[in-house]
Amino acid sequence: MLKATIKSLLSRKLRLVLSALAVVLGVMFVSGSFVLTDTLQRSFTDLFSSAFANVDVSVTPKAEKGKQPEPLTPQAIADVKSVAGVASAVGDVQGSARPIGKNGKVITTSGSPRFGFNWTGTGQEKIRDGKAPAADNEVALGGYLASTGGFKVGDDISLLTLEPKKTFKVTGIYEYAGGRDSLGGELSVAFTEPVAQQLLLGKKDVFSGVTVTAAQGTTDEALRDAVAAKMGSGYDVKTGAVLAKEQADQINEGLKFFNYVLLGFAGIALFVGIFIILNTFSIIVAQRTRELALLRSMGASRGQVIGSVVLEALVIGLIASIVGLGAGVGVGALLATIFSSLGGSSLQLAGIGVPMSAIISSFAVGMVVTVVAAVMPALRASRIAPVAAMREAATPDRPLTKITITGALVAAAGGASLALGFNQASLPLIFGGILVAFVGVALLTPILSKPMVSLIGRLLSWSMPGLLGRRNSARNPRRTAITAAALMVGISLITGVSVVLTSATKSIEKLASGQLQTDLIISGEGQMEGEAATFQRDVLTKVEKTDGVRSAVGWSQDGVLQGESQLFAVGVTDMPALTTMFALKPKSGNITPLKDDQVALPEEMAAEKGWTVGSKVSLQLAKAPEPRDYTVAFIWAKSQVLQGALVLPESASKSFRSDQIAQAFVQVAPGTSAADVQKRVEPLFADNPEITVQDRSAFVKQTTSQFDTVLLMIQILLALAILIAVLGVINTLALSVIERTRELGLLRAIGMRRSQVMRMITVESVVISVFGAVLGLAVGLALGIATVQALKDQGISEIGLPWATMVQYLVVAAFVGVVAAILPAIRAARLNVLDAIAYE
C-alpha cells in the first residue's frame, strides 16, 4: 500500500506542486513571522546593552503616583559621589529636542526617539568632527542627525525643546563605538549643561539622573546596593544591565504583539489554504476513484484506502513544511533587513536566527493543516463501493441537502458566537465566530453557486466559448464553491474592515459638520515622545486678537489621578466659548466659567463615577504637592465631540506637566472668510513648526487619513490569503483541464480555435473568481455592519458603505480570474487533438 501511494504521488507531480504551494505559502508566513520577530528582538537587546555599556549604575528620581518626579539637585549628585566604591558620578540631563531641518520642517523618525542631553565628555559619544559645545549657543549633533538633516560643522540648526524654536551653531559631530552614526536611529543633540537644563528640564541646576561607574573591585550589584542605601527610597537605583533589559523587554513586548498580528494573518492564509487542499484532494480522489476501487477489489481495506490518502497528505505536508520553513527564513531575513533600514539603516541587525518556535510551528501547522484537509476526501474515497467505481460513471452529482443544512447550522452558530462576542466584548468569541461563520458560508456556497454562477456567467457568455465556460463553472457546484469560498475569506475580511473604517469616517464627518462649530483647529502633528506638541499661551492671545477672529479657545492637557484611576483632563481657557463651539448642552447645572476649585464633566463620566453637581472630587495634579478637592460645577449632555475629558479651570493648567496649549479652536467673525483668517493666523506659529492650523474639512481629512493607512496595511497582509486563493483557482482549472482532456480534444476536432479554448477557460475562471468576490463582499458587508452596530456606543453612529472600494475588489477579482486562467488555458490550448481524443 505504501508503494502504491508513493507511485501515485510521483505520477501527479503537478497536482502535488499546486496543492503543496498553498501550504508552503502559509508555513512561510508563520515561520517568517517568527524569524523576523526573533531577529528584531535580539537586535534590540543588543542595541540597549550597547546603549548602557558604560553605565554601571543609574540613579533616577522615583515618581510618586500621579506626580511629576522632582529632578535631581547637585546635592544628590554629591551624595552619590560620596558613596564608597563610586569611581565617578555624572549628572545627566535629558529631554525632548526636535530638530528643524533645512526646509523648515521638523525632522521626524519612524519611532526612534529625538532628544537632547548635556555634553559631559564622559559618555559613549566621541567627537568625530569639530569640537564639543562650550558656549550657550553651541551644540554638537549625532552623526545620524547630521547625515539626515545635511548638517555640517559651522551650520546653524534650529531646535524645539520646552521652549519655542531656538537656533544654535553646530560646533561638532559625534559618533558611537565602531564609528556608528546612532545606536538605533535616534536623533540626538548635545548642549552645554546649563543650556540643557534650561531647555530640557525647564530649570537651572537640576538633573534627570546620575550615571555612576564603579571603582576597581566593586561589582555593579554591590555598588547599586550601596548607592540605594545612601539615597533612600526617593530614588530608583538600577544597574546598567537591568536598565538595558527593562528597555529591551518593553520593545520586545511590542514585538510580541506584532508577532501575534502577523501570526493572525498567517492563520487566515492557512485557513484559506485548507480550502485549497481540501479541494485538490477531493478532485484527486475523484479522479483516482477507479484506481482506489481496483485496490479495494484486490482486498485493500477501507482503512488502507483512508491511510493511503492521508499518507499522501502527510508527505505533501512534510515537504511543504520544509520548503515553507526555508522560504520563511528567507522572507523573515528580508523583512528584518527592510525593517532595520526603515529606521535609517541604523538598527544593527543581530544575525538571522531560526528559533525553535519557527521550526516547531512550521511542521505542526503544515502537516496538521494538510492532513485535516485530506481527511474528508479520504473518508469519501473509502466509502465508494468497488464495483460502482469500476463503472464508467465515476462521480455522480451528490445531493446538496445535507451539506446545505449543515452549512446553515454552522453559519448560525458562527453568527451566534459573533453576536455573543460583541455583546461581551470578547475577542476570542468574535474571531471564533467569524471563522465558524466562514466555514458555514463555505458549506452553503454549493447551493448558492447554481443561481449565482448562472447569473454572473450570463454577463460573460455572449459567445459560444463563453457559454461553455459558464456551463463548465456550473458543472461541479462543490468544486466551484470551495474555490470561490477560498477567495471569499480574504475579500470579506477586507470588505468588513473597509465598512467599519468608512462608517467611522462618515461618523466623524457628520460630527464635524453637525456639532463642531469651529472654523479653524490648531493642533500639533501627532504625539511627540508621548506628549502632544504644544505652543505658548501668549500665541493664543495673539490669535484671539487677530483680525476676523470672533473667539479663540485653547486647552492644555494632562492625566490627573483620582484615587487610583487616571483621568484625562483639560484646562480650558474659555469654557463658555468652547460650549458654543462644541454645541454642548447642559445635563445638569448651568454652563458657567469655572472657578479655581470647580470641575465639569460629561454625562457618561458622571454616570460611571456616580458624581452629581456639587460632588466633591479629590484630584492629584502632576505638579501639585498634594491632592486637592474640586466641586462639580456642571455636567454636560453626552457629546461626540468632547467625551471622556474632565474639564478643569484654566488656573489648574499651571500644575500640569506642561501648561502650554495643546489644542485650540477658532471661530471667525460673521461675514469673514475662514481661509483669510487662517492666512493671518498661520504666521503666528512660525516658531512652532509642529503646530498646524487647519480648517474643519482639512482637520477631518487628517483625522480620517489614518484609516487609509490601516486599510492599506490590512490589504497588504491579506494579500497572501488572496494569493493562495488565486492558486486555488489555478489549481481547480488545471485539474479540470486534465479531467476534460477528451472534451477539449473533441472541441478542437470539430473546429474550436486555440484562442476560443483559452477564452472558454478564462470565462470559467472569471466566473469562479467573481462569484468568490460577490460572496466575499456580501459576507464582508454583513460582518462590517454587525461590527459597526456593536460599536455604536464607541461613537461610530453612521453606517458608511465603501461602494467604490467594493467595485474595485470586484474588478480586481475579475482580473485575478483572467490571470489565474493563463496557465491552464495555455495548457488546454496546446493539447494535441489526436492524443486528447484518445485520452483515457
Partner: protein, 251 residues
C-alpha cells in the same frame, strides 16, 4: 494540382511514419485515393492496417510524413493550426466512436456547436431536415446523459451534417452501439449520402457496417490492397478473410 470536380477528398502518395531510425513504424506507405463526392465510402482493414491514420490525415487531425492531402478545394498538407482548425470547422464533419458530445450542452446545442464556434447562423430549414431525419425532434432539449447511446450517436451525426461539410468522417461510429442502434445510425449515414448528396468516409472493421457503403477500400500494412463497390456483408467478410494472403509490395 487541386481536387477536381467530383472529388471531395484526395490523398496523393501519402506516407506516414512514427518514430525514427530502427524504431520507426510506417503506418501509411504511399496511399493514393480519391474519395468521390456524394458517396458513402468505407475504409476497412484489420487493426494496425493504418485505416484510422488515413482518416486522421485526410481530416487534418494528423500531419503526413510526405505526400499531399486535399479536402474540397483546400490543400490540407502544410496548413498551420489555424488553417487546420478552420478546415475542420467549416469543411469537415466528425463522428467519433464515443464521447462525441459535450455533457454541458443540450442535444440542440451540441448539434449546432460547430456553427456556434464559427459564429455562423443556423440554416433553420436544413436543421429541421437533419433533426427529423435522425428522429431527434423530441429530444432536442435533453442533455447527453439523458440520451441512450444510439440517440447520442445520432446527435453526433446531426452535428456532423448540420454545417454541410465537404466530407463527414466517421470513426467506428457504431463500435459502441447495439446492433439495432447501429443499424439506425448506418441507415442514416447511407440516406445522407443518397438523399442529401453528403460525402461520407467511414472507418470500420465491421463487415456489416461496411456493407452500407457505396464503396469499400481495404487497407493492409499501410497500403490499399482491395476495393469493392456496393458489396454485401458476406462479400466484405470474404474479402477480409483473404486479406491475409494478399502480398503487400514493399517500397
Amino acid at each position: 494540382m487541386s481536387a477536381s470536380d467530383g472529388v471531395a477528398a484526395r490523398a496523393v502518395d501519402v506516407w506516414k511514419s512514427y518514430g525514427s531510425g530502427d524504431a520507426a513504424v510506417t503506418a501509411l506507405a504511399g496511399v493514393s485515393v480519391d474519395l468521390e463526392k456524394s458517396r458513402f465510402t468505407a475504409i476497412m482493414g484489420p487493426s494496425g492496417s493504418g485505416k484510422s491514420t488515413l482518416m486522421h490525415c485526410l481530416a487534418g487531425l494528423d500531419d503526413v510524413t510526405s505526400g499531399e492531402v486535399w479536402v474540397g478545394g483546400t490543400k490540407v498538407t502544410g496548413l498551420k493550426d489555424r488553417g487546420l482548425t478552420e478546415l475542420r470547422r467549416d469543411k469537415v464533419g466528425f463522428i467519433f466512436q464515443q464521447f462525441n458530445l459535450l455533457p454541458t450542452l443540450t442535444a440542440e446545442e451540441n448539434i449546432t456547436l460547430p456553427l456556434a464556434i464559427g459564429g455562423k447562423k443556423v440554416d433553420k430549414a436544413w436543421f429541421d431536415v437533419v433533426v427529423d431525419t435522425v428522429g431527434l425532434r423530441d429530444r432536442l432539449t435533453h442533455r447527453p446523459t439523458q440520451l441512450s447511446g444510439g440517440q447520442q450517436q445520432r446527435v453526433a451525426c446531426a452535428r456532423a451534417l448540420v454545417s454541410r461539410p465537404d466530407v463527414v468522417f466517421a470513426d467506428e461510429p457504431t463500435g459502441n452501439l447495439d446492433s439495432q442502434s447501429g443499424a439506425e445510425v448506418l441507415g442514416f449515414l447511407q440516406r445522407s449520402a443518397r438523399e442529401f448528396g453528403q460525402t461520407i468516409v467511414m472507418v470500420t472493421h465491421d463487415p456489416n457496417a461496411a456493407s452500407y457503403a457505396d464503396r469499400v477500400i481495404f487497407l493492409k500494412d499501410g497500403h490499399i490492397v482491395r476495393e469493392l463497390l456496393s458489396p454485401s456483408a458476406d462479400e466484405v467478410l470474404e474479402t477480409m478473410k483473404h486479406l491475409d494472403s494478399v502480398v503487400v509490395p514493399h517500397a
